[in-house]
């Protein structure tokens, strides 16, 4: 498969593209994707370590490894880290790397904004985790329920780190969301109408709408909480008569779409991996697309199923119970369509394919247990027990992580030019599959047998000991699996098999170009005439029957370099002239953009500086908190100096941010247009 060994595995040969500076200043979506991938994998290890400590503590009754306070910080940070710092950015790594490649673009719509998103994410992740160093990690749960998170009940800095950190991370997600929406809408190659977009890009596109609609809601919730904590407002102050359900509604209006933000990209990846490794197109492409949209749409109407125990009344319980059940329908359709895709195919059990099948097998369990607590009366016996922990780990580990692992094995060769070791990959898969089920399946039982969540210890003799021991052993196995994975990545980056353009025989545009892709992606932007352009080229006899839609091509008068580029489908070959430079083609040689005369955005450090200024500014309230504590303690001198620090840091950070932002806005994207074009 790897036929093009001559292709150097390192794309960035010239000096301008190596060294630490090139990474700090990069605006290349592929490099930003790589940064996202490795940063997120690092945080995945951090969140995993937190999980290992949690499981060690719960291995037996009356665990004594960590204190109540530390345990509460651990489970809060495990959830926060895995959701905001690991799975979302792992998906973002694929959004960055893949969307422009899959739609035949040179970069995202706003390359510098893209860099800004990454730096904000990195700094936000560091910001939240710095709290560990001063023994004040967030301890209010990832869901941060008021009034527990208000000042009277959480006087420490713990929640401040969380409130501010999540706002920082929200900026990153929102900026990226708008960026990708614009990219998908505006930057598609000629001929790529929406119904020819690869499934991953569709999933990513839908996910961005979830992000831009859901994140403002949690931002509002967080701003309210921040104002309560720092400025004495009373949004959640129960002593002033506040209704704490305000927080719960706001949080879950964000929080439930967030679940789909976490799972839809994995669905997208699996929808790439399964067809490729089955050598068959996705079954029911339109239905797969519509089910994505439907899941996303319904996802905004089910939030209160997290609140069946709060006493909303029978009407609200009914409505949210029924809407929640409805989501099972489009989700089931996806599962069945993946099965139908594999049916009649020629299945290659590569590691990527095994992880993708893992998603189908294990996510199904999480989906079905989800239906079990969609029924409010049944949920009353399940909510806030380990049954729920089992459920959402089957969704997020059995679903999201399995899909992301499948994506990593599938796209690692495209990112690095080298295959990720298949032998170690299989070991990784089996250890993960066994470890995951051993960890999370017993939790179904301990939950239904009465074990509450978020408890740092439990009494002996409750019938939970065996299930917890099994779960802990499974967690250790998952730890070993993850080490195998990390080792595999480190090893394969240096010495993996050279991949060539298209190691898997995949159908979409990103596999037409060298691995790793050159900075400009496509030397010539391809004109797209079907969903599977590469299969059209390599095996036209198979795709000829495909009902490729030609609708819109003529009306669109797809046009490149001034020529009519309405290239027909192969089965209509000969009926129209094909302009040579826009025809789908395989590019094997790597040049620099300058050689080809392609204008590319200049590297710039301004997004990083702007992000840094913003994070400095947003860390200032920590000093205000300190001042308020000192004032209460009667230490006026310390309070005054802390307030001074607050102003210095807040204004300093704001100045840095605004100055850098102006500088950024006044600098053109491309300083020199190579003269080659027109």
């Amino acid at each position: 498969m790897a036929t093009i060994a001559a292709n150097p595995p390192h794309a960035y040969a010239d000096d301008a593209h190596s060294g630490i500076w090139s990474w700090l200043a990069t605006v290349d979506h592929k490099r930003i994707g790589t940064l996202y991938l490795f940063t997120a994998l690092f945080f995945f290890l951090v969140g995993g370590l937190e999980a290992e400590i949690i499981r060690a503590q719960l291995q037996g009754p009356n665990g004594k490894l960590v204190s109540a306070e530390v345990y509460n910080q651990l489970f809060t940070m495990h959830g926060t880290t895995m959701i905001f710092l690991a799975i979302m950015p792992l998906s973002a790594a694929f959004f960055n790397f893949l969307i422009p490649l899959q739609i035949g673009a040179r970069d995202v719509a706003f390359p510098r904004l893209n860099a800004f998103s990454y730096w904000v994410y990195l700094l936000g992740g560091i910001f939240i985790n710095v709290s560990w160093l001063i023994h004040a990690a967030p301890d209010g749960g990832w869901f941060g329920y008021a009034p527990l998170t208000t000042r009277p009940f959480s006087p420490g800095m713990n929640i401040d780190f969380w409130v501010l950190g999540l706002q920082i991370l929200g900026v990153s997600s929102l900026a990226a969301g708008f960026n990708f929406i614009t990219t998908v809408i505006n930057m598609r190659a000629p001929g790529m109408n929406l119904m020819r977009m690869p499934m991953f890009t569709w999933a990513a596109f839908v996910t961005q709408f979830l992000i831009v609609l859901a994140f403002p809601v949690i931002t509002i919730a967080l701003v309210f909480l921040m104002f309560d904590r720092f400025f004495g407002t009373n949004f959640y102050t129960i002593a002033a008569g506040a209704d704490p359900l305000l927080w719960q509604h706001l949080f879950w209006i964000f929080g439930h779409p967030e679940v789909y933000i976490l799972i839809l990209p994995a669905f997208g990846l699996v929808s790439e991996v399964v067809p490729t490794h089955s050598k068959k197109p996705i079954f029911g492409y339109p239905v797969m697309v519509f089910s994505l949209i439907l899941i996303a749409f319904l996802g905004f109407g089910v939030w209160a199923h997290h609140m069946f125990a709060v006493g909303m009344g029978p009407v609200a319980d009914t409505v949210f119970g029924v809407t929640t059940m409805l989501i099972a329908i489009p989700t089931g359709v996806k599962i069945f369509n993946w099965l139908a895709t594999m049916h009649g195919g020629s299945l290659r059990f590569t590691t990527a394919m095994m992880f993708a099948i893992g998603l189908v097998a294990f996510f199904t369990i999480g989906g079905l247990s989800g239906v079990m607590h969609a029924s409010p009366p049944a949920d009353l016996q399940q909510t806030d027990t380990y049954f729920i922990v089992a459920h959402f780990h089957y969704v997020l580990f059995g679903g999201s992580m399995m899909g992301i692992f499948a994506g990593i094995y599938h796209y690692f060769p495209k990112m690095t030019g080298r295959l990720l070791g298949e032998g170690l990959g299989k070991v990784h898969f089996w250890l993960t599959a066994i470890g995951m089920n051993l960890t999370f399946f017993p939790m179904h039982f301990s939950g239904l047998l009465g074990m509450p969540r978020r408890i740092y210890r439990y009494d002996a003799g409750q019938g939970w000991d065996g299930f917890n021991l099994a779960a802990s052993l499974g967690a250790y196995l998952l730890g070993i699996a993850t080490l195998v994975f990390v080792f595999n990545i480190l090893k394969s980056r240096k010495s993996g098999q050279v991949a060539g353009n298209d190691p898997w025989g995949a159908p979409t545009l990103e596999w037409m170009i060298p691995s790793p892709p050159p900075e400009y992606n496509f030397a010539r932007i391809p004109v797209v005439t079907s969903r599977y352009p590469l299969w059209d080229m390599k095996q036209p006899h198979l795709t000829a029957e495909v009902p490729h839609t030609a609708r819109g091509d003529r009306e669109m008068k797809v046009d490149i370099a001034g020529k009519d580029a309405g290239t027909p489908h192969p089965k209509m070959a000969g009926t129209a002239a094909r302009p040579a430079e826009s025809e789908p083609h395989i590019e094997t040689e790597t040049f620099t953009a300058r050689q080809l005369g392609i204008p590319m955005p200049d590297p710039t450090i301004k997004p990083l500086i702007t992000a840094l200024g913003m994070c400095i500014m947003l860390s200032a309230p920590l000093f205000m908190h300190h001042a308020q504590i000192m004032e209460v303690a009667g230490n006026a001198a310390s309070a005054k100096s802390a307030m001074t620090m607050f102003w210095v840091i807040a204004l300093g950070g704001a100045t840095l941010m605004v100055a850098s932002l102006y500088n950024w806005l006044l600098t053109p994207l491309e300083s020199h247009h190579p003269h080659a074009t027109e």
Binding site: N62, A68, K280, T318, S375, A378, D384, P452, V546
Partner: protein, 410 residues
Amino acid sequence: MTATIRPRRRLHAALTAALALALAGCSADKYPNTIFEPTTEFNREVLSIFHSLFFWSALVFVLVEVALIWVMWRYRRREGAPEPRHVHGNTTLEIAWTLIPAVILIVIAVPTVRAIFRTQAKAVPGALQVQVIGHQWWWEFRYPQYGITTANELYLPIGRTVNFELKTADVIHSFWIPRLGGKRDLVSNHTNYLWFTPDSVSENAFNGSCNEYCGASHANMRFRAFTVTPAEFEQWTIHQKSPAVFGATAAPVTAAAAPATTPAGAPVTPASYIGFSADKLPPYTVPTMPIPDGITFTPGLTGDAARGQQIYSRSSCIGCHAIAGNPMSQGVIGPNLTHVGSRLTIAAGLYPNDERHLALWIKNARVMKPGVIMPTLGKGEFDPVLGTTLKSGLSDQEIADIVAYLHALK
């Protein structure tokens, strides 16, 4: 449970049998907090819905996984096999697997909606009213019909509907007794209700817990529920209503201070039943929590209840605790201690109510239970919240006296 589902009775019966087998081990003997042995009409309703959910989920699960494994086997890559045909979809199939799940969901949704409205209806008139007030991290139980306030131990008469009025004094908690009935949150500035009838249950003790994360000691916010006969319950209410026996009349202390184990032996107690007998406690309701490191109590001290009463009445205890019959003790922040001697556990179900644990608790509650509001009281003890060592405070002898006093409050 099969009665309502006729056409697929055999499959249903088979799967239910499988479920029953799988959960046969889930009996209350081995799993004392199981939801599979319902004891109330509420639990029965929930369990029958769960069975239906489980049946359909298991069916879909088996179908999907069998199909997956079959497809994986049948269509694995083989040498010389023809190239797969490119099939792009099948409208009939896709409509089928959209509609069939929809029908299944309707089958699930109908009993669900019925159960929602039935369980959330108003409780029957004449139900036993119990106010549950959540505190960080303990439970206050009030019986307004009887004028009783107690803590962490709930007495329920068998066969009578109990209507819980759920409130919280601080953050959100959640009230759950897995064996008796589904949980409800205690939401700040809200009042929630939950009712059920412990009808298919004998005299027994059950574990309850807080299920909504509520801060440092969320894991340590437990309680016990005792189902007792109506006659015993009446006696218990009479006893609870009476003021504390010991020193209630401010009379000189007599030998009654010695902990009396048999209720019959306490002549001042008019009630014939003062509480669940420690001997009858099922093992799973006896706390196993080890004593934290770094806290000790001088062994062999004998407390004097009369002295204990005096020390108690002039120390900071009275700021937070109430004891009916002790006019000095009127606090409402902490648990009502009127009949604390008859309780079986302390610290919200965390430790057994014996002399050693109670003494250590009084000495340094903040070490015994993380985050607890009750201050460190023992002399020379380290207060983990203030980060200081107490220079003045109660000596071990004084604590032993207070323990003797509290244990005399049967």
